[in-house]
């Protein structure tokens, strides 16, 4: 990767991207088996898109990678370190962009972004200001710095959440449905942002989404999770002509009014 000509306040090159490895990960909530022996690996610097219907366990899987959930069995490692261990969060900078944004409602947008560098004392107040304004500028959010999260639209909240993650200068970026509830143009914008962030900062990226455009547009590889199991894994291009009928159905559902799907759902 070459350094861009404009000086970035982020210390890009010193922080190599990390790989993620998920080995036979299973997770039960009481009797509910949410993940069933899921195995895959994400290479450093790759964009991996995880697709799947609602309730298939995608968010739960992401939480295992950042250590917010602990596996019932199996193992998740980030850069070779156990994701369940607290020290891993100190050694590897991981950022999760929550589906809801999870912005701190009591803080302004600026303070939301400044919280991480302030708490970890990575720079003085002037340096922090530079980092925060740079991140806001990347996402065209300069005007919102003084606003409170409750004043923002859905698309803006998602962008602020991404900006807050960027300020962490993460080695691993996780996005949970970054384009859900957005209009098509804003979805495309967010996809472009994800790809640009990955290009510029060479950060390993895992995106959970059920949007085909996003997967075909930016993914290096795509995994499909259904009912807690990984039913498909491969380069994005392979999905244009899927072999597995479940995958084909998921990616290209036909609306069939003669045989409506909801009438033969298993109960």
């Amino acid at each position: 990767m070459t350094c861009s000509s404009t000086r970035s306040p982020f210390s890009q090159v010193e922080t190599p991207a990390v790989g993620v490895s998920i080995e036979k990960l299973s997770k039960d909530f009481g009797r509910l088996k949410v993940l069933k022996e899921v195995t895959f690996a994400v290479e450093p610097g790759e964009i991996f898109v995880l697709m799947g219907p609602s309730g298939s366990g995608k968010s739960v899987l992401l939480k295992h990678i950042v250590g917010l959930e602990l596996p019932t069995s199996g193992r998740v490692t980030v850069d070779g370190k156990d994701a369940a261990a607290e020290e891993t969060r100190e050694q590897v900078r991981m950022a999760l962009v929550f589906q809801s944004g999870a912005l701190f409602n009591s803080l302004s947008v600026y303070d939301n972004l400044a919280l991480y560098p302030r708490e970890h004392r990575v720079a003085n107040e002037a340096g922090i200001r530079e980092k925060v304004m740079h991140a806001l500028q990347i996402l065209s959010l300069e005007g919102t710095a003084r606003k409170s999260p409750s004043e923002l639209s859905g698309g803006m909240k998602k962008r602020v959440a991404i900006a807050r993650a960027l300020v962490m200068e993460p080695q691993l970026m996780l996005y949970d449905e970054p384009t859900s509830e957005l209009d098509p143009v804003m979805s495309a914008t967010i996809s472009e942002i994800i790809a640009t962030v990955k290009e510029d900062y060479h950060v390993t990226t895992i995106v959970v989404s059920h949007e085909r455009e996003l997967a075909f547009g930016i993914a290096d590889r795509v995994g499909i999770l259904m009912g807690g199991a990984l039913i498909s894994l491969g380069p994005a291009a392979e999905l244009r002509s899927p072999q597995d009928p479940r995958v084909a159905e998921f990616l290209n559902p036909k609306i069939d009014l003669q045989h409506p799907r909801f009438k033969n759902l298993e109960t």
């Binding site: 939480k63 950042v66 250590g67 917010l68 969060r89 100190e90 900078r93 991981m94 950022a95 999760l96 929550f98 809801s100 999870a102 912005l103 701190f104 409602n105 009591s106 919280l115 991480y116 708490e119 970890h120 962490m168």
Partner: protein
């Protein structure tokens, strides 16, 4: 059985939270802004109601005491009764109860909503321990503000008693006489005894309210449930602890 494990869970997680928060005590100086903000919130939200209630508690104490004591002609000792009861018992217990109702419930509501809306998860992934940023400043502010509130409660309560003693016909004791007796029988160690109680109750209330907030699971409806639970658990703990602490402090007189 389920309730018992829930209670034990509560004890365990509260201890853990306490240990974790205290392990970050060294970061307090650089969190001075949060500390002062919490001091302000605790003082500002509780002071007016503490003042009003202790005034009336002092007054009613004087009234009841005057009523019973006139039978024996001992109403000149009202000052000692109001002085000791306020300082040793009613001041600290009332401050703790008001703290639970005003501050504790607000803390639980705030932390529970942060938990439900994943702000706590976001903090954890950012490697910012909630115990350090959210709990420690509140505990420290409580330790500083509660004695102040308790002293104010004592003073206002004594003053309320004095007014009732002077203007109630069956008592009619001048403030000079009232306060002379109060001073003779209420010693510094009685006030200190009350401050120790208030400090302990306040600390426990805020710790428990933080813990219940942070352990909220589910959706927005659970925020309300957590607040109710936090207040109820706080009140029970205050009254149970009060008995045992009084027993422990008794022989030290």
């Amino acid at each position: 059985m389920k309730q018992i494990t829930a209670i034990l869970d509560g004890f365990g997680s509260t201890w853990l939270l306490l240990v974790r928060s205290l392990s970050y005590a060294g970061t307090l100086p650089r969190q001075y802004r949060r500390f002062f903000e919490q001091c302000y919130l605790i003082g500002y939200t509780t002071l007016p109601i503490v003042a009003i209630l202790s005034f009336f508690i002092g007054s009613v104490l004087a009234l009841q005491a005057g009523y019973s004591m006139q039978n024996f002609g001992t109403q000149q000792f009202i000052g000692s009764l109001v002085g000791l009861s306020m300082a040793r018992e009613l001041g600290p217990v009332m401050v703790a109860i008001l703290l639970a109702g005003r501050v504790g419930s607000a803390i639980t509501a705030e932390l529970a909503s942060m938990k439900v809306y994943q702000e706590i998860d976001a903090l954890v992934t950012m490697n910012i321990p909630p115990a350090r940023m959210l709990v420690l400043p509140r505990l420290a502010a409580t330790l500083v503000m509660v004695p102040v509130l308790a002293i104010i409660a004592d003073l206002v309560g004594w003053f309320g008693g004095a007014i009732v003693a002077k203007y109630t016909a069956m008592i009619s004791i001048e403030p000079e006489a009232y306060f002379a007796v109060l001073r003779r029988y209420t010693h510094f160690k009685d006030v200190l005894n009350g401050l120790i109680k208030a400090e302990l109750f306040g600390f426990v209330v805020v710790l428990v309210c933080c813990n219940i907030g942070l352990n909220t699971r589910g959706g927005p409806r659970e925020i309300g449930a957590s607040v109710t639970r936090a207040v109820v658990v706080s009140l029970i703990l205050i009254l149970v602890l009060d008995y045992f602490v009084t027993q422990v402090l008794m022989p030290l007189q």
